[in-house]
């Protein structure tokens, strides 16, 4: 007699995805869905989608979702969470969405310690639009807008979001993981679960940066793309835990309590 020990999580719709072969968006989606299942939040979750390849994530998650303008997911998420603190709010964003056009909203939501879980998929390129430079494109990496390779003099350095956000007091948890092999995927899963738990139990801001592969725009095979993440991306974006406040102090932003304090001083 055989028992199924690995299958599709309930929170992940049983449909084919539009993602390219070997694109680890699919893996990240599955991990998020596993977390939704594990913590039982499907009926009170809302995922905020970015612009980018994962703009169509509403097709893949069995929970409420909402499209945000490019870069604004954390502002939209803030609006939802402040309006309905009982809901579980997560954003799922790419490197352009979170670190380029959305950088301001990202920094401020993190700084405020919004009780939101952020899934940040960093694949060092703008995938959906055809392979332009991302804020996280590596030095010397060729993209359609850096045909001679990213140069410090012209484009500056790749932006390291996990390191930056770890410096903000409002951030409770900040880790960078990867998905290039099974061991990394399992670690990534743990990180995502931890971030979910922080919102659910401690109303805290959890941030997981997932290094991801874009075989299509790197113009290499899926397997080689994973190797590229393992051997090249990690040099610029070291994996690791950048911040993990102990649970007691990870109380983060308790908006209601703050508002009550403010009311006492109202004019």
């Amino acid at each position: 007699m055989a028992k199924k020990v690995f299958g599709r999580p309930q929170a992940l719709c049983d449909v084919p995805t539009h993602y390219c072969a070997g694109c680890t968006h699919g893996t990240a989606h599955r991990l998020v869905a596993e977390a939704i299942d594990h913590f039982g939040v499907a009926d009170r979750a809302v995922g905020v989608a970015p612009a980018g390849c994962s703009v169509m994530m509403y097709k893949y998650f069995n929970c409420d979702t909402i499209e945000a303008a490019h870069g604004r997911a954390l502002a939209v998420g803030t609006g939802i969470k402040r309006a309905r603190p009982d809901m579980f709010v997560f954003t799922y964003q790419g490197d352009g969405d979170l670190a380029s056009i959305g950088l301001c909203e990202t920094m401020h939501a993190a700084n405020r310690g919004e009780a939101i879980t952020v899934i940040y998929v960093n694949n060092a390129v703008y995938g959906m639009t055809g392979g332009q430079m991302a804020p996280t494109t590596l030095l010397d990496q060729r993209t359609t807008t850096t045909p001679a390779g990213r140069a410090v003099a012209n484009e500056g350095y790749p932006l390291k979001m996990a390191e930056i956000l770890a410096n903000l007091d409002g951030v409770a948890y900040c880790e960078r993981v990867a998905m290039y092999d099974a061991k990394q995927v399992r670690r990534a899963r743990k990180a995502i679960f931890h971030a979910f738990e922080l919102q659910i139990k401690h109303n805290a801001f959890g941030f997981v940066e997932l290094l991801s592969a874009c075989p299509t725009n790197l113009k290499i095979s899926p397997l080689k793309a994973q190797k590229w993440v393992e051997e090249e991306m990690v040099k610029t974006f070291p994996l690791g835990l950048f911040k993990d406040l102990p649970a007691e102090t990870a109380a983060g932003n308790d908006g209601a309590a703050q508002q009550a304090k403010g009311a006492a001083h109202a004019v």
Binding site: A2, V5, G26, T27, R30, D181, A182
Partner: protein, 85 residues
């Protein structure tokens, strides 16, 4: 017997599972599916341990893993706890 099932129409032939399997039980396929991919092929159940490393790396959730259940063996419970949600 432990085994995996690869969803033929769902697989995009990325072959991350081929590399992931520690026992080389998956190979690149040569049959086209409706989407135009050559899905990976599970070659043998004989030495599969249902470790689920293949399914872990599959971006398309195209692999299901089935483990032979022996109710008296404690090792099975550990495997189940690790790989299920």
């Amino acid at each position: 017997m432990n085994r995996i099932e690869i969803n033929f129409e769902r697989c995009k032939g990325c072959y991350l599972c081929v590399t992931a399997c520690p026992r080389n039980l998956i190979e690149e396929g040569h049959e086209l599916n409706a989407a135009g991919y050559y899905p990976a092929r599970f070659t043998s159940s004989q030495s599969c341990t249902a470790c689920a490393l293949c399914a872990t790396v599959c971006p398309d959730v195209a692999i299901e893993v089935w483990k032979d259940v022996d109710a008296t063996a404690p090792a099975n419970k550990k495997e189940e706890a690790k790989s299920s949600g």
